[in-house]
Amino acid sequence: METVIEVRDARREYVSRSGVWKREKRVVKAVDGISFEVRRGEIFGLLGQNGAGKTTTIKMLTTLLAPTGGSCRVLGCDTFGEEKRIRPRINFIFGGEMGVYRRLSARDNLRYFSNLYLLPRGEQEKRIERILGLVDLAERADDLAETYSKGMIQRLQIARGLINDPEILFMDEPTVGLDPVGARMLRDIIRRLKEEGRTVLLTTHNLAEVEELCDRLVIINKGKVIARGTPEEIKGGFDTLEDAYVKLIEGVSA
């Protein structure tokens, strides 16, 4: 199978300055030399504690952030330097209530983003209608997003992430704030994307979800990979992935 994401010894540091008079420079190594590969059609999990570097990794892969070392390649192109060839073919969803225009309706949001993704006029309305149905927002599509519940905004985000029929979809904690029905809907969407041959890279703190969905995963801690493999491999002798995960994290913090 073709490799669509290739991360080689990627690093990212953040420099922050604090203090008013005596400016102190602090360097945070958010991602500290990680490597992994994702093949086309896989559902790939990125796991780790808060602050482990998951979001930072996704930002480097989605051309939002430059690595300070190593390389990130998506669809064969460098995410820093060849981003123009990557951007139309991928999309991403960040969990929570960010990433939508709250003073516009769901339909207007999707129309606007289909323009920004340069979709042909004739195709826009058809695709928007289909996606609105997919995320179950058709009924409220013409209300302003600011009147939506948290989960509805989340579903609108998912819809937005599908607007360009992306080959790879990056999802950062996509089920945060979704009700059980919404979370299952999202899992169904993810499985359907896989059936269509698309690739999904996702982060989540819900390990049952990982067991259910992911073909392979890496666990990162403080910017470094501490485990990798299929859910079964990582589970090893433990009953659940959660038990194995907790042991792994305890192991490295001891």
Binding site: Y14, T55, K59, T62, T63, L64, L65, A66, F80, E83, K84, R87, P88, F94, M98, G99, V100, Y101, R102, R103, L104, D108, R111, Y112, F113, N115, L116, Y117, L118, R121, R160, N164
Partner: protein
């Protein structure tokens, strides 16, 4: 550069700006209050042309505040709502999107001139004269171009640094004073005037005022218009240079998002 993207962004921007109470305040209440204030200030001064200083002054002040608080503030609003990253990596070019936002806001902000005109006409019943309407139209178009270009420089700086909003609040009033929105630049000390004449809005304001009074020497008008367009072109080149560097800079400095 895609016209569809430009137009879609203008539409979306106008919808969103108008939905914001702060923007509506700047757009509607601000010019009314300023018109009243300026009228009271000019009433006993012997200045006859209320149109030139009161209506135009209040209108321009409103236009400029809308630009300061919206074109500039919008970048931070998008940053905090997580959409800045989205428009930044969309296949449509980022400068086109920003330009669409700015043109949308500026067109909407032009309402301030009309509101200030109506306020003066209704409240004070003074004769308001516009002697050279055609010249006024040219001056207005050039003024809009100048403001659009300035906003685009500001928007670019804001994308690069989160602190720009602070600076923006600091320059709002100085520009009003330096560029002679509400009084002629000639009353300023010579050293300050040198700064005034490096700023394109100064010429825009003088051109507008000339056409209100009536253009007696067309040559002087065209000359000033030429300077204004030249300065605007210069700012535009600067802006284009900035935008060429932004794509890499922003991703190295990680300023697209708040967290």
């Amino acid at each position: 550069m895609s016209l569809a993207v430009l137009l879609a962004t203008m539409r979306v921007q106008m919808k969103q700006s108008f939905a914001r109470p702060m923007f509506r305040f700047c757009l509607i209440a601000n010019p009314i209050l300023n018109t009243v204030l300026l009228y009271e200030m000019y009433r006993g001064s012997g200045e006859e042309s209320f149109m030139a200083y009161v209506v135009l002054g209040a209108g321009l002040m409103g236009l400029w505040s809308c630009i300061c608080f919206s074109s500039a503030g919008d970048i931070n609003r998008e940053r905090y709502s997580g959409t800045l990253a989205l428009i930044f990596v969309a296949p449509a070019s980022f400068p086109t999107i920003i330009l669409g936002k700015i043109i949308g806001n500026t067109l909407l902000s032009l309402l301030t001139l009309g509101i200030s005109l109506v306020t003066a006409a209704v409240l004070f019943r003074t004769p308001l004269m516009l002697e050279s309407p055609l010249y006024f139209l040219f001056a207005l178009l050039a003024a809009v171009a100048a403001f659009v270009v300035i906003s685009s420089v500001v928007a670019c700086l804001l994308t690069l640094s989160r602190k720009t909003e602070l600076y923006m609040n600091c320059i709002e009033i100085p520009i009003i004073l330096l560029c002679g929105f509400v009084f002629p630049v000639s009353v300023l000390p010579a050293a300050v005037r040198a700064v005034s004449y490096a700023l394109s809005p100064t010429y825009a304001v003088e051109l507008l005022r000339m056409s209100v009074w009536g253009v007696e020497e067309p040559a002087a008008f065209w000359q000033k218009l030429g300077i204004l367009l030249g300065l605007t072109a210069l700012y535009a080149v600067l802006s284009a240079l900035l935008y060429r560097r932004i794509d890499r800079r922003v991703r190295v400095a990680a300023t697209l998002e708040v967290a």
